[in-house]
Symmetry: C2
Subunit: 694 residues, 2 copies
């Protein structure tokens, strides 16, 4: 019982630090009226979106909760305590979505405050501006991982049943699916439309207050990159914990024993190490923000390794599981560095794509696609290798069982996600300083402040590519662990019905193979639906922007006192995003159920595997290619290959626009889609066993 | 012994028909001197490329043959008759590459003749022009499938060992890998460079004789779309036969029994039916060429179904295997129709992408990518379903064995590829009439002839998209069958060493999983390498075209008597293509060997599966997206969405250029890469069993 209590204490500590950081940020001065006005508009827009999104989600969650109560894990008309079990699962599901929503709300609340403060601080220098951006983001990091650990531990403590944490995890995934995909559609609709009419057609600068979509664009940064990303990583973190808890408790003979405790202990240490890392983050006046962000990450990593090592030694955990955890963490960091190679403008890929742009946009796309394809290999190899190593070193801990090695893999996933609070802090820093840059421009705070926020923004972009690669890989390893958890769940059910248990999923079994191939298609269809959603939505918004420039007199010329109707653009992005995300989300869930009812457990094993394989491939490709195009454009804008206004620049802008929905809508949403499918499969395993065609 | 003899007779019959068709084509008139001159240039360029390519390949094949002799299937220092066995495998390997090379050479010889005749005939009407184009292409179809069936049967007859046909198949694959990838790089280098400088920069029409790259472009059509495509389908056909023969002989207890005979019988009927279909193909004056091509395909399909049904009844083959074969064929046709939906300009996807182009090239790319992603699903589902159905209906033929159902799947692949001679005829028709169009333009044969060849060319494009979807799906099913053959081979070896045999490949086994994830990365890396090759090569050629326009006086203005140095562009394309394809090919082979030596048979099972999953996904995506962009551009050029010269047109051209290496270089080469990896794995199985790390 010690470790659940420790987990709860560490989570509460994280909340306390988050509150302290929030207080610190809110104490920073805001004097400029214009910034306060625009900041309020952004905040209001973000709130509006969140409220509408959460309302829609509430309906969705309610419907699913009822279905869970009736059907899962066993139909309610089933004997032996189904009612209580189903009720707990449904409640855990609701709790998962509520905890995630709360963390998102808190993070965004502080982010939309910090952007104003960071903008104003930029007039005083890079140090205060950076600190506000970073600490504002860190609130999100602390809130997300604090809620994740707290929620999971409470569910475990109350039910004493790790498989209930899968219900909690499913709640988190449902929310993440909608938050990430909906936020992703919102942000890219606004971004693309604002650029298309503003920069390309009219030639007015980015973040120009005349542009009717400019506030929507800034709102998008918050709902997509702050709230969406937070929900995504909340989801991955909970999923990695749940998978490890299910397998750990199976190893402990169904009790909270030494292995279950180890999972909670490591997770608590991860959050603790991130908290220290966040509090230690500093920058000197004139210092390098990228360096500051990376240093805190390395510090956190170091603390985690040392403390978990000590804990393992003192509390007698198995050192081999510890080694598996560290392997996961190290591979995660290495994958981050590889993503950086492919998306950093100091490295050949970005520079070659920028160079290719001189021959026209087609070459920007072809070369970017090629480097994007190349970039997936190191990450895939890293994931495969860490799974193989974690398995190999843990496979003889328990004789004649594969639970030990599956648990080893799940601990590698826990390791990879251990420092996620730090990762989220770095990641949320990006949109805050991006917004701050916008506010500096719109508030007219001067060239020096613009230069400073530009530098902060650029560091945010670099770090974002790295953390995205990290997040996708972590999700990949987590889903592998979830596959193990699914098998373990299914076997429990099979054994309880006196049926033969599965030793695994044989590729040569055609139901498995059927699932594998069909599963491989789902992430492609899912991303296509989201991207087409962005396309359709951007069309609507472009029409609205044109209308405003045509109808509002003096807007184009920037006549004082004439402001565009920002609210209409925010409305279009909001309504459109919510309309477009539903079919994609429903498709993912329904296809999982269909495959399960057609081919049963075996087909689902294949289906999830196909999902992982093609999902990782596409997610890594799209995120990296998108990041690469973004930075190739920036590289040209910095004066290379002809600089701003050249043909190469026009071509690079095309690449950047293509990359936008790749990297911010489809790519990172695929994680969530895979996790959702895995969790739907896990909690519906009983149904598939009872009713399936083949 | 009856059926091998029948196969040989039918193959020889196909050669006789091919010879008759060649005679018919060569008897058609050529009077126009200019066309004869340019036609000779194209022919010469194509020959030069083929000679250089084959020389390079000869070295490659010789090295691999020596390695095979020393190492495969068992190291030569191994006891029990390795020397003879290895020698036969090496000879079969050489035979496979030689047969494929010969078929390619024959096909291209006739194609480069038929293009001139078809161009001249266009002055007389659509009927003679179509017939020459089609019959010229049909020579390729007859030659390819005739050689494939003849070679495979001879190897089987001589060695009485079906696994030797895998060696033959590997030879065919090696050639295909180089022919498809090399030809693909050649053709797109020339195509993109010619368009970029000619159409985009200088605004001169396609196929304008002033363009130094125009002959290289036409040569490219022949080496990429005729020779390369032929080698690709030769490879798939042989591979499907080999896989079915290996499994059939295993079912027949190692003899040429009823199942082995059935494979040969069906293959012979497929070739026979295609021959009839080819001879029946007709078009009325003023008729629809697309309809004519499709009608012959349906006639062939019908004849195949009826004759194999009769043969099954008369010769007492198992009707369930017949059903599996027909399932494969029907699903293949359905997948072709789906590809058509996504690439036909009468359907919504192409029209929507054309419409999106009005907002700029980024939207062309985003929407095209989205529809490309969507298009993979029906094909993947079809492949998965046909494998599942074929398995299900054949699984109880032999009690307690999985050989029957694996054989069932391999028969579905045989069915899908049964009408491949017809498919190749349709496919080779495309580049012939495309070239004819070029010759009409360059020879100045007038507007009416241009209109006719335009119509023929457009039919070629439509049919090409369909046959490409068909070819990829067929390759997919074949590789699944090869996976079965690999397992069967590995188990023979394991049994002979007294080791435990494998029942399958368990996804939860981390070596399998390791292979799976790594294997999924290979097609991405492979396509990236090819596309970057095209990029680099096109850069060189664009520089050369610029040089000629700058240095050759009067060229730009079209002064009479001034001709560009066509040969230099052909040289650049040739040298570059051969230089760029080697690393990609070697990467595919070496990675297979590495994974095998690291993780053994289990890892290879996963590796091949990962290859299939991501290979199918990427190949279908790239082929369909490429075809879609091509037709969206044509749709705009036909006067829609603003028509030629509009912004939408410029954007659609960008899409088309991106699609070029997608659909003609990377996409269709992935098939071959997967087959090569499968065959390397199959014939190296013994080595992996003897030496592997995990």
């Amino acid at each position: 019982m010690t470790w659940p209590i420790v987990s709860i204490i560490v989570s509460l500590l994280a909340f306390a630090v988050a509150y302290w950081l929030y207080q610190w940020v809110s104490k920073q001065p805001t004097a400029n009226k214009e910034i306060a006005r625009i900041g309020a508009l952004i905040r209001e827009g973000a709130d509006t979106f969140l409220v509408r999104e959460y309302k829609l989600l509430a309906i969705f969650v309610a419907v699913v909760a009822v279905l869970i109560f009736i059907l899962l894990p066993q139909p309610i008309w089933h004997e032996d305590g189904s009612v209580a079990n189903n009720l707990y699962t449904a409640l855990a599901y609701i709790a998962g979505s509520v905890f995630s929503a709360l963390a998102g709300k808190i993070g965004m609340f502080v982010a939309t405050l910090a952007n104003m403060k960071s903008a104003e601080a930029a007039t005083k220098g890079i140090k205060p501006s950076f600190m506000i951006g970073f600490r504002g983001g860190a609130v999100m990091g602390m809130a997300v991982v604090g809620s994740s650990l707290l929620g999971t531990t409470i569910v475990l403590l109350l039910t004493k049943d790790a498989s209930m944490t899968l219900g909690f995890s499913f709640g988190a995934s449902s929310l993440a699916l909608f938050a990430k995909a909906g936020g992703g559609i919102f942000t890219k609709t606004a971004d693309i439309s604002a650029d298309l009419v503003g920069k390309v057609e009219l030639g007015i600068p980015e973040d120009d207050p005349r542009n009717p979509a400019v506030i929507a664009d800034n709102v998008g940064d918050n709902v997509g990159d702050v709230a969406g990303m937070g929900a995504d990583l909340f989801d991955s973190h909970v999923a990695s914990l749940s998978a490890a808890l299910v397998l750990g408790m199976a190893l402990d003979g169904g009790k909270i024993g030494v292995n279950t405790s180890m999972v909670l202990c490591y997770a608590a240490i991860g959050l603790f190490a991130s908290t220290i890392g966040v509090l230690l983050a500093r920058i000197k006046e004139g210092g390098d923000p990228t360096g500051a962000l990376n240093t805190s990450t390395y510090v956190t990593t170091g603390i985690f390794v040392v403390l978990t090592g000590l804990a393992t030694w003192i509390f007698g955990f198995n050192a081999l599981y510890w080694a598996a955890t560290i392997i996961g963490l190290v591979v995660g960091v290495v994958i981050g560095i590889v993503s950086d190679y492919f998306t950093n403008d100091l490295r050949p890929p970005v520079q070659r794509v920028a160079n290719a742009s001189k021959s026209g946009p087609a070459f920007t796309i072809i070369s970017g696609t090629s480097y994007g394809f190349l970039s997936v290999f190191p990450a895939l190899f890293g994931i495969a290798l860490s799974a193989l190593l974690a398995f190999t070193i843990t496979q003889n801990i328990v004789p004649d069982s594969n639970l030990d090695s599956l648990f080893g893999i799940s601990m590698a996933a826990v390791g990879m996600l251990s420092i996620v609070a730090m990762i989220i802090s770095n990641d949320a820093y990006g949109p805050i300083v991006d917004n701050a840059r916008g506010l500096v421009e719109m508030g007219g705070l001067g060239e020096e402040a613009l230069r400073i926020t530009d530098e902060l923004d650029s560091a945010g972009n670099t770090v974002k590519a790295v953390t995205k690669g990290f997040a996708i890989s972590a999700a990949g390893l987590t889903v592998i662990a979830l596959l193990g958890a699914f098998l373990s769940e299914a076997n429990d059910l099979l054994a309880s019905k006196g049926m033969e248990i599965l030793t695994g999923f044989d590729i040569m079994d055609p139901t498995v193979f059927f699932g594998l191939i069909v599963g491989a298609g789902i992430p492609a269809v899912f991303s296509a639906m989201l991207m087409l959603g962005v396309d359709r939505n951007a069309e609507r918004m472009v029409a609205e922007i044109h209308r405003q420039f045509d109808e509002i007199e003096g807007l184009k010329e920037g006549k004082p006192g004439v402001t565009p109707e920002y609210g209409r653009c925010i409305d279009i992005a909001t309504v459109g995003a919510l309309r477009e995300l539903i079919p994609a989300g429903v498709m993912a869930i329904v296809s999982t159920l269909l495959v399960g009812f057609i081919g049963g457990i075996e087909a689902i094993g294949g289906f999830l595997t196909g999902n992982i394989v093609s999902g990782l491939l596409l997610a890594l490709y799209m995120s990296n290619a998108g990041g690469l195009w973004d930075n190739a454009k920036k590289y040209v804008e910095a004066g290379n290959c002809g600089g701003k206004g050249s043909d190469a620049h026009k071509a690079a802008v095309v690449g950047d626009t293509v990359g936008d929905p790749y990297k911010d809508t489809a790519g990172p949403s695929i994680n969530t889609q895979i996790t959702v499918c895995s969790l739907v499969a896990s909690i519906s395993a009983g149904l598939f066993i009872a009713f399936s065609l083949f």
